[in-house]
């Protein structure tokens, strides 16, 4: 019986052009500069939290997606990497109430 090998060669990722990297670099500069100047403005803490987190996540997406080629990898690999990171955000959020109770115990209600 003939043996069919299913072993596929390790796929060369379809790498983007060098121009794309420079465009991403420009976007990263733009987002960082925006964040820097937003910081100089007198914004409320809530506004800061929303804007800065949004900018940070956009930058993270650009770096992971293009520089780290995640956009060009197999979708299952993307799931394996992104799912724990979502849980990580949950971890950070989960300990915040603890900090708040510490604050309350320090300053009194």
């Amino acid at each position: 019986m003939e043996h069919e090998t299913v072993r596929e060669p390790v796929r060369e990722t379809s790498a983007p052009e060098a121009k794309v990297y420079l465009q991403i670099l420009f976007l990263l500069f733009l987002l960082s500069t925006t964040a820097y100047f937003l910081d100089l403005m007198n914004l409320t803490t809530v506004m800061k939290a929303i804007l800065f987190t949004a900018i940070a996540l956009m930058k993270a997406g650009l770096i992971a997606g293009y520089f780290m080629h995640l956009r060009f990898e197999r979708i299952t690999l993307v799931y394996v990497i992104v799912t724990p990171l979502i849980l990580l955000v949950g971890l950070v959020a989960a300990v915040m109430p603890d900090g708040r109770s510490v604050l309350m115990s320090r300053i009194g209600f």
């Binding site: 299913v6 072993r7 596929e8 390790v10 796929r11 060369e12 790498a15 060098a18 990297y21 420079l22 991403i24 670099l25 990263l28 500069f29 960082s32 964040a35 820097y36 910081d39 100089l40 800061k48 939290a49 800065f52 987190t53 900018i55 940070a56 930058k59 993270a60 770096i63 992971a64 293009y66 520089f67 780290m68 080629h69 990898e73 197999r74 299952t76 690999l77 394996v80 990497i81 724990p84 990171l85 990580l88 971890l91 950070v92 989960a94 300990v95 915040m96 603890d98 900090g99 708040r100 510490v102 604050l103 320090r106 300053i107």
Partner: protein
Amino acid sequence: MGSEDVMRTAWGGGQSPFAVSWGKLMMWLFILSDAFTFGGLLAGYGALRVGSPTWPDASKVFALHVAGREFPLLLIAIMTFTLICSSGTMALAVHSGYHKERQKTVLYLVATILLGLTFLSCQAYEWTKLIREGVRLWHTPFGPPQFGACFFTITGFHGSHVLSGVIYLGVIASRVARGVYDRRGSYEGVEIAGLYWHFVDLVWVFIFTFFYLF
């Protein structure tokens, strides 16, 4: 399912899981575990900061005096741009590696290393400045001791990653220069090192946002 069918599944050993090489997959798994280390540090920082009635104003603490004027967060802005630039040159190094252009790859790797060293120098300056002002791992003259603890732990952990990255890239650059990857027929080693370097930049995005901007 017969044993041959098992071999055909992604984890059966007959093929590469997720269609990436083992080196790349292992680097991704390392990056995930490292992300959790940094996530733990940031979570701890968040809890400590929320629990502190006062916190020093980062834009004043990290201001830079140039020609008698105070520029808030200038040093941190320079560090951020340096690291983003180094990610750009790293991406170009990986790109040159794809096309097996040995000289260009070495050139871009060296540029990345130099930018990494610039970042480390800025950090050394920043640490020196704060230590001279009396900030310690257990003490902050102008705020709660948690500030010093968080500052040195988080930036120190990140800085040691940058330092490791510089050494790592130095080894890779020397291998490229010696033609190791040409003989192997694949520049994947450069790409894997690139994953690590971009991750270090990625972590800085969050440290910059949550430690310095807030």
